[in-house]
């Protein structure tokens, strides 16, 4: 099963086992990983599951959809590698994915 590493704003890393088809957001919630609020539960409606994708994986993870990009355009502290983790589905080739959570989701 693909391993996902979450890094919080203070640098603490947590690595958990993901499941193909589940999202990076859901996997964080399931494993009590702090730093991702996901108020809307993954409907791409709230932008509170914002993460920064590690440089090694930005290409593999891919670009956000138009809807997600619009949500990100107006979120706080957005960077080039920002994504909404509810829109990243886990696949075998994302094994080792590392994402960093921002200091605040609101």
């Amino acid at each position: 099963m693909p391993k996902i590493t979450y890094v919080d704003a203070s640098g603490t890393e947590r690595t958990v086992e993901g499941k193909n088809g589940m999202t990076v957001m859901e996997t964080a919630i399931k494993h009590n990983v702090p730093g991702i609020d996901a108020d809307c539960g993954g409907a791409c409606a709230c932008a509170t599951c914002h993460v920064y994708v590690d440089a090694a994986f930005t290409e593999k993870v891919g670009k956000p959809s138009a809807m997600e990009q619009s949500m990100l355009d107006f979120a706080e502290n957005v960077k080039e590698n920002s994504r909404l983790s509810c829109q990243i589905k886990i696949r075998d080739d994302l094994d080792g994915l590392k994402v960093t959570t921002p200091e605040s989701q609101h």
């Binding site: 589940m22 009590n32 809307c40 539960g41 709230c46 138009a66 619009s70």
Partner: protein, 412 residues
């Protein structure tokens, strides 16, 4: 300075009650938490019930707000399948349907709301269902075989979302709405007309001004009877005509209630040690200068956070403009603000393109936005509502001006 609470009880293990518990632990509170729910499941997301979960695209466990282990790991006593029966304010305890009463220093009432029942003949027939809980949807799914005839009574968010899933699953869907438009309580005429068109295009029979007289059948529903005598044969009827707040426990305890449990900006009821949050709370709506009751995820989360902060004497969270969403077919409707009282509705974009928005203005200020497949309109709209921004309608309607520019001009 008040003494810090050591025992906090929360009645209602939905999104608001769950959030209150999570926020208490996140803030470092290390006293007891009893989270009392009358459903068998731990706190879960309700929005997917009428969307992905109904469609069979999501298993129940994925709805849970936190995994079961979370509660034991965080010393939260999650009580399930057990209803609170009485709030004893003098003794500061909650009596339960089963087992010993639970004592508290502070109490949160997050009992939510229940679907309003129709007072018509046949409302208790089998096959007349509502959609609020996991159990409701599991029952609905058993009856919703492809080809089955579904009548949806009430074209609000829940009814229309279920109608959309029904049509996608191959059911023959009829939607009955008493008002002249669908979504009449939550959106303006433009949005209503659009969704009527969308559902009709999907093959559903949407009837406005419909007057329901009763449900026909013996034991199980066989049809819906309309005023004038017409009978629509059906196998299943979903009633989605709004909800009533579950305020009886509070009322019986002597806590002040109106159309909801009345709370202040700290979520505090008329009793200083009792808070209320979520669908059941009648709360100040700071962006609108009035009070009201909101039925939404945003409100549940915010109410839970407010109550937790107030009980611990901490600073309240930043209050968000109310936000909502609805997924139907390939359309995502995102709403910010409350449109009640709007004196102008500005259309931005072409509904035929399936990506457009309606901005609601009151005395020149933006009070709400409904955005269909238009996240930029939604996100900037949310900021405009928060700032109570004034904008020229012509500018809002002009698609050649980007939302970024509109936001920058209006918000400075």
């Amino acid at each position: 300075m008040a003494v810090a609470p050591r025992r906090i009880a929360i009645i209602g293990a939905g999104q608001a009650g769950g959030q209150a518990a999570y926020s208490l632990r996140l803030a470092g509170y290390d006293g007891a938490i009893d989270l009392i729910g009358d459903e068998p499941a731990p706190p879960y997301q309700r929005p997917p019930l009428s969307k992905a979960y109904l469609k069979g695209e999501m298993e129940a466990e994925r709805l849970f707000l936190k995994p079961l282990e979370y509660y034991s790991e965080h010393a939260i006593n999650l009580v399930t399948s057990n209803a609170a029966k009485k709030i004893d304010l003098a003794e500061k305890r909650v009596e339960l349907a089963h087992g010993a009463p639970i004592s508290w220093d502070k109490l949160v009432i997050a009992t939510g709301a229940r679907p309003r029942k129709l007072a018509v003949p046949g409302a208790d027939l089998k096959g007349v269902v509502e959609l609020r809980t996991l159990a409701d949807v599991d029952q609905l799914k058993l009856l919703a075989a492809p080809g089955a005839r579904l009548v949806v009574v009430g074209a609000g968010y829940i009814g229309l979302e279920a109608a959309a899933v029904g049509a996608q699953l191959g059911l023959k869907v009829t939607v009955l709405e008493a008002m002249p438009q669908v979504l009449s309580r939550v959106a303006g005429a433009e949005i209503g007309a659009f969704y009527t068109y969308v559902h009709r295009t999907a093959g559903s029979d949407v009837r406005l001004h419909a007057r329901l007289e009763g449900f026909e059948g013996s034991g199980h529903i066989s049809g819906v009877r309309l005023a004038g005598g017409e009978i629509l044969p059906c196998d299943l009827a979903l009633v989605g005509v709004g909800v009533l707040p579950n305020l009886e426990l509070a009322l019986d305890a002597g806590i002040v209630c109106g159309n909801g449990i009345v709370v202040d900006a700290q979520g505090r009821t008329s009793h200083p040690d009792v808070h209320a949050a979520g669908d059941v709370a009648w709360r100040p709506l700071v962006h609108f200068g009035r009070e009201g009751r909101l039925e939404s995820v945003h409100n549940a989360i915010e109410g839970g956070k407010i109550a937790a902060a107030a009980m611990l004497g901490a600073a309240p969270p930043t209050l968000e403009v109310p936000w909502f969403w609805s997924d139907q077919f390939d359309l995502k409707l995102q709403t910010a603000g409350l449109w009640t009282g709007a004196d102008a509705q500005i259309l931005r974009g072409d509904p035929q393109s399936k990506a457009f928005a309606v901005f609601y203005l009151k005395e020149g200020r933006v009070i709400a936005v409904d955005a269909v497949n238009s996240a930029a309109e939604y996100v900037v709209g949310r900021k405009l509502v928060a700032a109570q921004a004034t904008i020229a309608p012509a500018e809002l309607a002009d698609k050649s001006i980007s939302m970024k520019d509109i936001g920058a001009r209006a918000l400075g």
